[in-house]
Amino acid sequence: MQPFRFIHASNLLLDHQIGDRPADDSPLQSLIDDCTMVAWKQVVATAIAEEVDFLLLAGNTFDERDHSLHAQLSLVRGLEQLAEHGIDVYILPGTTDPPSAWRDAIPLPDNAFLFLSPDDSPRTVACDGTPVALIYGCLSDEFQPDSSGPNGLFSIVMRLGGAPPQPLDVSQEEMAGGEIDYWAQGTGDTRRTAYVHGTVAHHPGSPQGLCSKQTGPHGCTLVEVDASGEPTLTFVPTSPLRWESVEVAVNHETSREELFHRMKSAVGEIHGHPTDEAYLLSWRITGEGPLKDLIVDTSFREEIDDHLHETYADSEIRVCSLSAIRAVNRPYGHPTAAPSGLEAEYIEQLTNPWQETPVHAGGLFARSSLAGGKWDKHFEVLAEEIDDSAIFAKALSLGHDWFAEESPPIVSP
């Protein structure tokens, strides 16, 4: 087999809105707005620099609900750039960019191949005129390989994967079948890989993190297939913007200068990449001490940023503190002292509700007076998004405030 190489990227979500942003007057706003498109340009640049044979975009290239023209323009321009270098691009629609969204999209250059229907036949990729790979676009849950049998080409299946923490959307049986060499997955932001009997299932994650939960570097994967058909995966960072959660410990003796020093050290420990342009930091303060309470003060965070800017003044990387939280020593639900009296009864009611009393968000809404109204859809979406354990923890906290023996009188709003 002739060796070849390709880039596997997914979840570009071009021009998608960024979840956690600094203040509006932050100089990073422009970078934040364009970070997904910068990441895409980085993917294109990587493909050109690495002289890959083709590029796989395995789903969620953009979000149709964004109705963003810039996303599609950016995509088209990148594709045109790749076309100039003779690099074909194989695109699989995802959950946010279903086939219908692609049909209404700006016409793509000729080097872009879309799998818009389950009936689309696989595409053969040639390298210097020699076919080297067969690419399937799988839009359904079940994959049916080409019935013509093995043809000696490297088989790639582009299929959407389950969102983390679910495993890759490829069963052990499918991987063990040996008919497919590379399962290109695409949903979710977390990078993950599975190897079964020489078959690889891989999801490269997103080229750019979109919120503070998606910490660390993001990028795409360079896949190099050697003459024996063995793929080698290499992570290629592409994200210009990185969210990082940095933990700093304090104690009663920690001075302000010492805290700043620890923070700078913690930021310095972040392993940088050439594509990094800015870090958005979420501070997590552990331990006890007067500075722990100070950290939540916005002006103090600005002071931190000033110190960090001084430190990184010579660097091209810009740093901004997004938020700071105090690590809770006694998490909700795990009180240090056993509750008593009314609080205990409340917790009993909370933890052992009556038979028909709902405990999950959807059920809570269904039992409320607002159910069946015009806001059902919103509540249902929010119920899906909000973690039941957070609801429980908050309810527990409220009960503690109301019914704990040492709690002050309840003041109604």
Partner: protein, 1028 residues
Amino acid sequence: MKITEIVINERGVWRNLHLRLPSSEMSVFYGPNEAGKTTLMKFVREMLFGFDAHKTTGEVAAGSITLSTEDGDYVIRRTRDNETYLTGPDGAPAGPDKIDELLSGVDENVFQNIFAIGIGELQELSTLHEREVADRIYGLTLGPRSKRILEALEFCELELQELADDDGKRGKLIELFERHDRLQSQLKQLDGVKQEYIRLANQRKISQEEISEIQSRQSGIDSQLRGHLYMQRAWKPWRAVEECREELASLPIIESFPENGLERLQEIELELAEAAEQRDRLKTEAKALIEDSNRSDSDRAVAKYESILQGLVDHRDWIADLTVQIQGAESHRNTLSEDLAQSLRKLGGDWSTDQLEQLDTSPAAYRRLIGKGRAYQAAVARREKLKQSCKRLSNSQERRQVQLAERTRHLGVESISSGLEVAQSRLSDLETLSELKLKKRELHRRQLGIDELREHTEVRMSPPPRFYLIFWFLVGCGLISLIAGVYNGIYQQWLTGGIFAAFCLMSLALGQLAKHHFEHGVERRISQLNDVADRNREELRATREELLRLMDDDTSVDHESDTVVLELAAIRECSREIAELESLAIAEQKMERNRARLKRANDKLYQSQRDVAGARQVWQQTLTHLGLPETFDVNEAFEFWQSLVETDDLRRQGAFAELALKGHREVYDSFCRRIAEVARRMHQWDFDFEQPLTIVDHWEQQLKQLHSNRKERQRLRREAKARFRDAAEYRGFVDECKSKRAALLVQGGAANSEEFEYRANAATRRVLLEHQLEQARQDLEAAGQTETELAVTEEDLQLFDQEHNQECIELLKLEQEDLQKDLQAAYEKLGGVKREIEVLEADRQSRMLRRELEQIRREMRAAAGEWFSLQRAKQAVVQLCHEAERTHQPVVIADASRYLVQITCGKYRNIWTPLGKRHLRIEDEQGQSLAVEKLSRGTREQLFLAIRLALIHDFARNGVALPVVLDDVLVNYDEQRTTATVQALIEFASSGHQLLMFTCHRHLAEIVQSQGQEPLHLPGHDAIAEAA
């Protein structure tokens, strides 16, 4: 505390009622409607709490109530003046504080709402909302636990309402949802931007292709055009060289010729021609001007009568004003005529303007009318006033007479004075009778006293046994003393014997004296008493005889009922009769005075009627004199007079208007006649003489035309003279030019101008051709050098068709222009598309919207997290609430549930109150929880009765034991529940509560009787009165 006795002196229908309650705890009183049950219940309440409430209604009440307590019986007595007396067990009065102590501090409201209730109180839930009562029922004094739960619940609800109210219309979350949807909608609208971009991109592509094509075509056409232009450039100089050569060969050779000869000749010719032309033109113009001035003569007739016409024209505006004035005067006259006719119609059918003219409407006549009218009105008013007064006095007199007669008849007397005499005599007799009776009784009592004294005296005539025992003891002692004295005097000492003898004598004397006293004093006393008794008896007999006489006279006095009470009643009756008769006598005197006043009023009325007749006659005469219709209504006459005056005024105004109109018309007609006369003189017959102003306007125009023509003719004649002068000057200049021309022809060797011109042109042409030939040779060389790529042969130049080549060039240029325009348009279009694309690409609205949307989503997630947490916390708190409601219900509610189960025969099993709420919930046998409002009236009353019984029980637990009074509270119960309720009440009473139940329903009394309780029948009021 129990009520053992109720005494009503007076209260409502009750008088002198004395009720002694049975010793059993439950007493059921049966009585029909209006028997006074409710009054009795109210009386009990009033006895306990006072009459304050009745002072305003004017009801009076007095009586007492006896309360049995552990300390003994207390009697509360209240007088009709609401003075309260409390008597304790020892009969001693107690202070008013003791009543409060007996009532254990229960106020009247609580007693009325809980202890003494009727059907009205029972049906009202609000009667259970008094503070003290509500506290007991609803347990409003919550403990810290319940308070915490309620506060938490309230916190939850308020927080949830802040986030989203129950209707989903307000709240932070709702606002976020609305903003989200709004932004989403805006974002969706931006989808059109993408389609627009695609469209523009397609257009851009098409435009670019178009531009390429045009540019390609332009290139080809340029090439063709260049070839044609080269041929054109080369052919012209080649052709010019050829032509110059040929023409030079054909031209003569001239040695000398005057310099600029041809120009000079032409200048002279030109000047000559111009001067001749100017001369001729001026002559012609002068002639034309003269002809014009002759033609502009206007109408001679107008010129002849110019002054007259001008005079008429000058009066034109005045006549126009006059016309308007005539129209205005006519309109005014017509209006006045209509008003006059209308006023006459209003006055009546027989009124005319002639009558109006004869009418005297002067102020003097008006004053006379007013004076007489007012006098007549005053007389009538005075008479009416007197009439009213007489009528009033007459009515009063009549009424008094009737009343007097009625009262006299009622008293049964013929006349007031005789009746008064009879009554006074009778009163005197009654007083005498009474005195005699008193005297009789006195004498009788005195006789009895004498008899008794005599009896006692007779009894005392025989001395008591002890008297004789003492007497004989004294006699014995005296004898013994005598014997002892004799013995001592004989045997021992004389002195001692003397003492003994003296003692003996004293004892004998005392005994004798006592015996005499009893035996002779009593007899004398009896004799005296007998004398007194005899005199008394005689006096009594005389009195009785007098009494019998008087009784025979006064039949109203019952012989049998010889009681002081009746005598006093008769005296009171007689006194009242006398008082009434005296008042009648006073009334009679008043009536007499009234009668005299009536007579005087009638006299005045007669006089006033005569005055009225006189005034009326004078009034009628005045009306007749003034020519007005006869009427007795002065105001009507005044109004008619006013109308007449107004109508006459209208008539006068109309006459004045007519005169003014006539004057205007005469002037106008005179003007018209003058116009007609002038027109006749000018022989102008076509005018409409009905419109003189039009004629005048026409003449005015003619006059203007005349003046205008006159000025124009003068101007034309002046101009014609000026033209003739100018023509004479030009004639001299023509002669001078002819002399110059002849001299120049001689110099050029020509006989005439044509020859001179030929010779001049040939000389000039030769020079020019030589120059052109040189220039054409140079151009030909230059053209050959411009297009080195192109080559052209002599043959091509000879075959060259310039026109055809020019046409080709023009066609190619046109095509090139078209292509240039197309290219320009394509570029412009492309530029526009590019600009639009740039605008679309630069549009950041989508990004801003999404950024805002993301922010809202984040806020929505935070708010929703809070909302879900509060919902979940609220669930738990509600469960705590229910638990508290199940386990921490007030004891009163628990007791009430028990009573309700018994009363409703188990249909309703439980009463409970939601935590912190002031309303009740009832659970039926299926466990369904119902609000009080959902219950039937009977069940609601049963619920309230159960609550009251529980409350009374609760009061008793706290040491407040007051009697319970129920006034027909079971009327809305069915038979089964009535029986059950009676059983419950009996059990309730047996637990130590005194229960007084009033009913007017026999079946209820029978049910009570069947339960072993004997109902008490309330006595009738008549029977009580009879007993009194």
